[in-house]
């Protein structure tokens, strides 16, 4: 029994942390968020690192690593609040991996290399589904009803922009008839996508916590650092409690995907529910620690808070996942 990372995984984590913090400085994130844009040059670098295809099989042109490695990058991507199409790419790739030989051969090598942009629905709707990064995608993955998904040609879809409070990612509503059904296990792909998003949410929460704790150490009121007051320090302790629960459940879910797939449905719903709650409550608590400055546009915290709320809503809310958990633990 060993619930830790191996050397290769630690290296992936460290590389992601370093690369993303160097590229996505707070100023850069703000610039992109205010422009609702991505940086193509950084995407090229990300593609060279092999991240789009990190969990795509080698025979499909990917790195052939597992969901654990993907989750480590996703967490760091949330931590950096990196405006990129990574999450949509991963989600699409997870569904494409369940595709027929033809579907996989046609799309996956390009998606894995970062050259072909793909996007996937982040809700179960068949009409007007929420699809981040749908514009400019060469292929769309949409729901085909309960437990099934389809590959859709974007030229046959109606794509409308969807302006949400989170501007660090680009959202769209997509409607399309037809498409080509994916023969594999769409449910499994959806579970994996939930774990990836839970990792992003964990990273968002961890970043907000770090910012709040650093501020609580330096901000002085009534003659001492506010972090010395228990009303503030206990709020910070609660943030760590939330972040660590979220992280434990997310890593565990990622592990089940490869090692114990029968546990993935329950594990992925637990992770997504917990991470959604954690990201929302920790970013809100961080704003409270910052006080008035945290409510200003000038401060960076609101970008995290907004991403937390939107990601919490995607791929099923905490409440929906808890309902699934209740069934999976045996409530009639």
């Amino acid at each position: 029994m060993n619930f830790g990372l191996n050397d290769e995984q630690r290296e992936i984590q460290a590389t992601a942390r370093e690369f993303l913090s160097a590229r996505f400085t707070p100023e850069k994130v703000r610039e992109l968020a205010e422009a609702r844009a991505y940086d193509d040059a950084i995407w090229t670098e990300i593609s060279r690192l092999g991240w789009p295809g990190i969990a795509v099989a080698e025979e499909d042109g990917g790195q052939g690593l597992g969901l654990i490695e993907l989750v480590l990058i996703a967490e760091q991507s949330g931590y950096a609040l990196a405006p990129t199409p990574l999450m949509s790419t991963w989600n699409a790739a997870l569904f494409l991996a369940e595709g027929s030989d033809d579907q996989r051969a046609r799309w996956l090598p390009g998606v894995a290399s970062g050259e072909t942009r793909a996007a996937a629905a982040f809700d179960g709707r068949t009409e007007r589904a929420v699809v981040p990064d749908a514009d400019g995608a060469a292929v769309l993955l949409l729901s085909a009803g309960e437990d099934s998904a389809r590959v859709v040609d974007p030229s046959e879809a109606t794509i409308e922009p969807l302006d949400l409070i989170d501007t660090t990612r680009r959202y769209f509503k997509v409607s399309a008839d037809g498409g080509e059904e994916i023969p594999g296990d769409a449910d499994d792909a959806a579970n994996r996508a939930c774990v990836a998003l839970a990792a992003e949410l964990t990273g968002v929460a961890a970043r907000a916590m770090e910012m709040a704790v650093a501020y609580a150490k330096e901000r002085e009121q009534f003659g001492r650092a506010i972090g010395a007051y228990q009303a503030v320090s206990h709020r910070c302790a609660q943030m760590l409690y939330d972040v660590e629960e979220s992280r434990s459940l997310t890593y565990y879910a990622a592990w089940t995907a490869g090692a114990e797939p029968e546990s993935l449905p329950l594990a992925s719903s637990m992770a997504k529910a917990r991470a959604s709650d954690a990201a929302r409550s920790v970013t809100a608590a961080a704003l409270q620690v910052f006080g008035g400055i945290g409510f200003t546009w000038e401060h960076d915290l609101h970008f995290l808070l907004k991403r937390a709320w939107v990601s919490a809503e995607l791929l099923g809310t905490a409440r929906q996942h808890r309902d699934r958990v209740a069934s999976l633990v045996g409530l009639d």
Partner: protein, 379 residues
């Protein structure tokens, strides 16, 4: 990352499980009842004979030098089998490890074997009426006398005192020294007239704990552990041992409770109620988070060798979860769930101590804030 047991670990688990299947004596009599001590002593003798008493102790002292993982497996299996507590729980978990870490050769020879065999029961004299969370402010005095010490003062929340031969006593030996420095750790013989044990009735109606009164109780010099004035450091060792590895077995206890609860809910036809579903799922997620967090901590501790302050989060989670679960269960059961002496009403009442015993949740939050997050101390 591999959350399955290795072959060796699985073999260890099977060995424990097989032994427990053959030897588990079943549910213990309610604590405080007259026959508990005989029952629990017999049980500990059986454990000792099987080589399962003090498994974390090094083999040279009669233990098995079990790794942290093996200790966690052992606790989990004990929980799964609903095996009762051994009579000398505190001797095994705290007394022995302290003597091994800080005791003299003579002390090791004198005390360790009778702890394992339950021939001598141990209790812990730390808390006082005016020294709870602020343990280092304790007032019980030990004054130097010819060849030993005379102790005067009061302790409280002392489990097993009525059965104990030895009390792990922390007393103030230097009232002039700063509060953490003037303390000494003693082994006090409970069998003397100068020690009085009074049961302390708690809100469940039982008396799991006692008050201790010392009126010039005698401790010979050779019963100092770890040196005069070093009591705080020695006491901290026992508290570390108390919290290490608690998480995994605590999560298992909760898991067993939640399984029962799910059955009760289904029997009551409440499984489709959205509020009930939401609450069950929150408990499920919390219990899994506790279990997994404990395993992460365990892995980290195996690497560093030192239990870190992160264990404080496990204790805090456990108290939250058990209180939430017992309150929810009594909601599900309705007024009958509050009948005196019923299983869940008893658990509900008992759980109210969970956020106090072994470190209050409020103090655990301070520990997390100061020692994990590095926030300034309020002084």
């Amino acid at each position: 990352m591999d959350l399955t047991l290795t072959e060796t670990e699985a073999a260890f688990r099977d060995e424990v499980r097989g032994w427990l299947e053959a030897n588990n004596p079943g549910e213990e009599p309610r604590s405080g009842t007259g026959n508990w001590i005989e029952f629990a002593t017999d049980w500990q003798r059986a454990l000792h004979a099987g080589g399962w008493a003090g498994i974390s102790w090094p083999a040279e002292y009669g233990g098995r030098g079990a790794s942290l993982i093996e200790q966690a497996i052992f606790s989990e299996e004990m929980g799964r089998a609903k095996a009762p507590r051994p009579a000398n729980l505190l001797g095994l978990v705290m007394g022995g490890p302290v003597v091994i870490a800080h005791g003299t050769t003579e002390q090791k020879e004198r005390y360790l074997e009778p702890i394992l065999s339950a021939e001598e029961i141990w209790c812990q004299g730390f808390s006082e009426p005016e020294a709870g969370s602020d343990l280092a402010s304790l007032k019980t005095r030990a004054v130097k006398d010819d060849g030993g010490w005379r102790v005067t003062g009061q302790k409280v929340w002392t489990s097993f005192a009525q059965y104990s031969k030895w009390c792990m006593l922390v007393a103030r030996t230097d009232p002039e020294a700063p509060k953490h420095k003037g303390l000494t750790y003693f082994l006090l013989d409970m069998e003397q007239d100068e020690v009085e044990v009074r049961p302390l009735r708690q809100i469940t109606g039982e008396a799991e704990f006692n008050e201790l009164f010392f009126e010039g109780a005698w401790i010979p010099d050779e019963n100092v552990v770890g040196g005069v004035g070093n009591g705080w450091n020695v006491a901290i060792t026992t508290l570390m041992n108390e919290r290490a590895g608690l998480g995994a077995s605590a999560a298992l206890g909760l898991r067993i409770g939640l399984d029962e609860l799910v059955e009760m809910i289904n029997e009551a036809g409440l499984g489709g109620h959205p509020g009930v579903r939401e609450h069950v799922a929150k408990l499920q997620i919390g219990i899994e988070a506790l279990r997994l967090g404990a395993l992460r901590t365990l892995t980290a501790t195996m690497k560093t060798g030192i239990p870190g302050p992160e264990g404080s989060i496990s204790k805090w989670e456990w108290a939250d979860l058990n209180q939430d679960m017992t309150a929810f269960a009594t909601d599900v059961l309705g007024i009958e769930g509050l009948a005196w002496g019923e299983e869940w009403s008893h658990r509900l009442l008992r759980s109210q101590a969970n956020s106090i015993e072994g470190g209050t949740t409020d103090v655990l939050k301070n520990i997390v804030a100061e020692r994990v997050l590095g926030l300034p101390r309020l002084r």
